[in-house]
């Protein structure tokens, strides 16, 4: 009982987080930046930040993750980090030769007052940025938001600092990816192709963090949205943001800068959210939905109806990032399950509002996000009203083990299983994968624990 100390009684805590359901902004910014082709993310702060982010992403993806750091020293923290960042830009372009450096700040550099916009401008003015190369930035202090907002801020940086409007519209739609896996981004591109919609997806970590074994260590793997593609987003017909927290801010920025209208849909996880995404994209790109996609949907629906009896009425606790938790909760309800306890460490009113709408169908459900919404609280809720299934990142395994309930890994980070970078959770095939996983853990448990006379062959 690793969590033997978790009490049933829920007390108000004064700003203390136990076993968090979030981490800090910079790692999100770093992850987003990896979704640009030829980009070296740069952490403007102490050396440890960058090492931790790289380690965390490496554990999650089992891939090399490259990023540079300003390596703050005591001097830098007194006199400001401008010199460190300017020296970094020099070093990076001369040694690692990326097409673009994506700088994000940290709690340290923000607190001492470094202004990334001013410093990157100075770098440009001083001729430190070679012809045809770029430096973009995002402000991501660790004491604001979470890894999810850090991701959103870097995606805003991409839109604001690259999009151009030439005055001539392009027959393409921007798809702004919320924080999702490389496999999910690959699936979004596949669905768009099947639809016949011309899109620019950004960021795009497929073929970056799910790179094949080739006998080479590619410092800049072949994937990622390209700079010409990013520039062209200002001329697109419209944007669709996949997620109101991690993607919408970039859509707003594009609208503001280049007048590209946008629509926000939930991340396409589960049947309802995927339906809405397909409808939104087919409308935006003026294409009709092909039979291929209708059949895919039909296969998901077929599995849902075939196995309905095993889902119905099952109680679920889940935690994770808002843009994933929202559609996942909806999908669980669509399957006849009862999401009861839900936490997300990321703050924001949008989550509360959206969850309140969705959970009208599950009266009595608890949900909380932001400060105090950690997995300790989730566990306490579960002790008060037990559930049949837990869904969350790898850190859920402590709770699942203590409570002896089935557990499905979903979200970030997953450091003890593979699959998330290869198989999508989005789209109809992603829905099918979730259905299979949920059924699998329920049935494995039944097979393991059923008394002999109730041990069944056919299920």
């Amino acid at each position: 009982m690793l969590l033997r100390h978790t009490t049933k009684e829920v007390k108000v805590r004064e700003g203390l987080t136990i076993n968090p359901a979030k981490t800090c902004q910079p790692v999100g910014a770093l992850y987003a930046a990896l979704g640009i082709h030829g980009c070296l993310p740069h952490s403007h702060g102490s050396q440890g930040c960058c090492a931790y982010h790289r380690s965390m992403l490496t554990r999650h993806y089992k891939e090399p993750v490259m990023a540079a750091t300003s390596s703050f020293t005591e001097g830098a923290s007194v006199f400001g980090g401008q010199a460190n960042l300017l020296a970094s830009i020099d070093t990076i372009f001369s040694v690692y030769d990326p097409d673009i450096i994506a700088v994000h700040s940290t709690c340290l550099s923000e607190t001492i007052g470094d202004d990334l916009q001013q410093i990157t401008k100075k770098a440009a003015d001083d001729g430190k940025i070679p012809e045809g190369k770029h430096v973009i930035y995002a402000s991501t202090p660790s004491f604001v938001g979470s890894h999810v907002t850090g991701y959103a801020n870097m995606v805003v940086g991409m839109a604001e600092q690259f999009a151009e409007s030439t005055g001539e519209k392009k027959e393409q739609v921007n798809l702004i990816a919320g924080w999702m896996e490389p496999s999910d981004m690959r699936e979004i591109k596949k669905l768009s192709k099947e639809l016949g919609a011309k899109i620019v997806l950004f960021p795009d970590t497929s073929d970056v963090l799910d790179a094949p074994q080739t006998g080479k260590h590619e410092f800049y793997p072949k994937g990622g949205v390209t700079i010409p593609e990013l520039k062209s987003t200002g001329d697109s017909l419209s944007s669709i943001a996949l997620g109101c927290i991690s993607a919408e801010p970039a859509a707003v920025a594009l609208d503001k800068k280049c007048g590209v209208p946008f629509e926000t849909v939930d991340m396409p996880i589960g049947i309802s959210a995927t339906d809405r995404f397909i409808m939104a994209l087919s409308k935006a790109a003026s294409v009709s939905v092909p039979d291929e996609i209708t059949s895919e949907r039909g296969r998901l629906l077929d599995a849902m109806t075939d196995m309905d009896q095993y889902f119905y009425g099952k109680k679920v606790a889940l935690f994770g990032d808002p843009d994933q938790v929202i559609p996942l909760t909806e999908f669980l309800l669509d399957l006849g399950m009862l999401p009861l306890h839900i936490v997300s460490g990321t703050p924001g009113k949008r989550f509360e509002k959206r969850m309140a709408e969705i959970l009208e169908r599950s009266p009595g459900a608890n949900f909380k996000n932001g400060l105090g919404a950690d997995t300790f609280l989730l566990h306490q809720w579960m002790k008060n009203e037990p559930v049949d299934l837990l869904i969350g990142n790898s850190y859920g395994k402590y709770i699942a083990r203590d409570e002896n309930i089935p557990f499905i890994r979903f979200g970030f980070p997953i450091v003890d299983r593979i699959g998330h970078s290869y198989f999508p959770s989005v789209g109809y095939s992603g829905g099918l994968r979730l259905v299979e996983k949920i059924l699998g853990v329920f049935m494995d448990r039944q097979d393991r624990e059923a008394p002999e006379e109730k041990f069944e062959l056919v299920m």
Partner: protein, 453 residues
């Protein structure tokens, strides 16, 4: 494979051992160059890894959420009892705290946590931002210690205030405050503290058992499977036995100064070093020849069992080449010897935090043509692995996927090891792991080393 460029400013941190080559003068113990893709971490990381295994203490990270989140149960430092160290506690500082200070929040968090978890002591880690906003964590710790009657120890581990080594030092300073605060009546004169052993995969238990078999009392292990009460009476031991010298030598020196406890440096990796670790301790108790006798018996029986088992691995691995890039330089010495005993040679040896003595020793140990690096980066590592045609890389979490992408075998000799690599049994496990990775059938499908082979 195109030539990979080495950064000019890094030239002094790379050395290739050659006959009649340039004089040995490797630059180390410097901060990393701004803009490098360094594999190093920060001061906080250093403190956290040293103190984390104290299992019945509360570890509260004072700062924004990241520092606590990234260090939540990522090291396999196992405990035989309490497991409070495996949870994650953070004051989760917000923007308003940064403006108005986080002392109140720290105080409230400590009171709540100590009441709920009843820890034996509490370690409060300062992160970067605390050093900037100027919270007086010492004062808060004193106040809480008084109110709760447990030791509440500040750890000054602001990330930017030096390197990981400075974090080790900050951790040792906190431990030193605990040492000497309990009775030592039950401690025999034939006793030691095991320092710098973190019980990854249960290694401290193996080492402890050897010493106990020799008739020696182990007062404390710092900090593997650590307990506050054991640390408090560590000053009662007769000798400090220090492994992983980078992290714990400063504590050993402080204890020598304050309590006149001498210390020796040992390593538990490989047959030679493991045997020396037992003999060197036995030598410290000349009036008890039975201790040395026992040490010889242990070594003899372990080696007799181990030696034949290693032959299969040696036959397969002879002539293979290894690259080593680990945290501390001391570990590389043992690894070189261990690899040689398997018939392997070392073509690249490096560390994140070695000092000039370490690198001098390393140069003496290495064969001609071996590359020695300090604070390396993935570009360099890839370059030398390919150029030197290494068959195996030994490293940590960030190096693993680089090796596999290059089609090179890998062994984690860092905190993600899953099996004990220390002790005689550890040598068997190490050989097995190296053998399994080098000889794996998957390599027949994989293009290797840039497609050259």
């Amino acid at each position: 494979m195109e030539q990979i460029q080495i950064l000019k400013e890094r030239e002094k941190q790379i050395f290739e051992k050659k006959d009649g080559g340039a004089a040995f003068d490797i630059s180390c113990e410097t901060t990393s160059l701004s803009g490098s893709v360094s594999q190093r971490a920060c001061v906080f990381c250093g403190s956290r890894v040293v103190l984390y295994p104290v299992a019945d203490a509360l570890h509260l990270v004072h700062g924004p959420i990241g520092c606590a989140a990234y260090t939540w149960d990522i090291r396999g430092s196992v405990s035989s009892g309490p497991e409070l160290h495996r949870l994650s506690f953070s004051t989760d500082l917000q923007e308003t705290d940064v403006i108005f200070g986080g002392e109140k929040k720290l105080y409230a968090s400590l009171i709540e946590l100590i009441e709920q978890y009843q820890p034996k002591a509490a370690f409060i880690y300062s992160t970067c931002i605390i050093g900037i906003i100027g919270d007086d964590i010492d004062a808060v710790c004193r106040k809480v210690a008084k109110e709760t009657s447990i030791p509440v120890l500040p750890v000054h581990s602001e990330g930017f205030k030096g390197t990981k080594k400075d974090g080790y030092r900050a951790a040792c300073i906190s431990l030193m405050k605990l040492v000497g605060t309990a009775e030592t009546n039950d401690i025999s004169p034939y006793s030691i503290n095991i320092l710098g052993e973190f019980n990854l995969a249960g290694e401290a238990w193996i080492i402890r058992e050897y010493y106990e078999k020799m008739g020696i009392q182990v007062v404390s292990t710092m900090t593997g499977d650590g307990r506050v009460d054991a640390v408090r009476k560590a000053h009662g031991a007769t000798l400090n036995v220090v492994q992983c010298s980078g992290s714990m030598t400063s504590l050993a020196k402080d204890m020598e100064e304050k309590y006149a406890i001498p210390f020796i440096r040992v390593s538990y990796f490989g047959i030679e070093d493991m045997a020396s670790a037992l003999y060197d301790v036995a030598k410290h108790f000349p009036d008890r020849p039975d201790i040395m006798e026992k040490a010889r018996e242990i070594v003899k029986s372990e080696v007799e069992r181990l030696y034949p088992q290693l032959q299969k691995f040696k036959a397969a691995l002879s002539g293979k080449k290894a690259a080593i890039y680990v945290g501390g330089a001391f570990k590389t010495f043992s690894l070189i010897k261990a690899l040689r005993s398997l018939g392997m040679s070392v073509v690249l040896a490096g560390s994140q935090t070695g000092n000039s003595d370490d690198y001098g020793n390393l140069k003496e140990m290495c064969d001609e043509g071996t590359v020695i690096v300090d604070d390396s980066n993935p570009v360099e590592l890839s370059k030398f692995i390919l150029e030197k045609e290494a068959d195996l890389l030994i490293g940590g979490v960030k190096e693993r996927p680089i090796a596999f992408k290059l089609g090179v075998a890998f062994c984690d000799h860092n905190h993600e090891r899953k099996i004990p690599l220390a002790g005689f049994i550890g040598m068997y496990n190490f050989a097995l792991e190296v053998y399994q990775s080098v000889m794996s059938p998957v390599w027949q499908f994989a293009p290797r080393k840039g497609g050259l082979k």
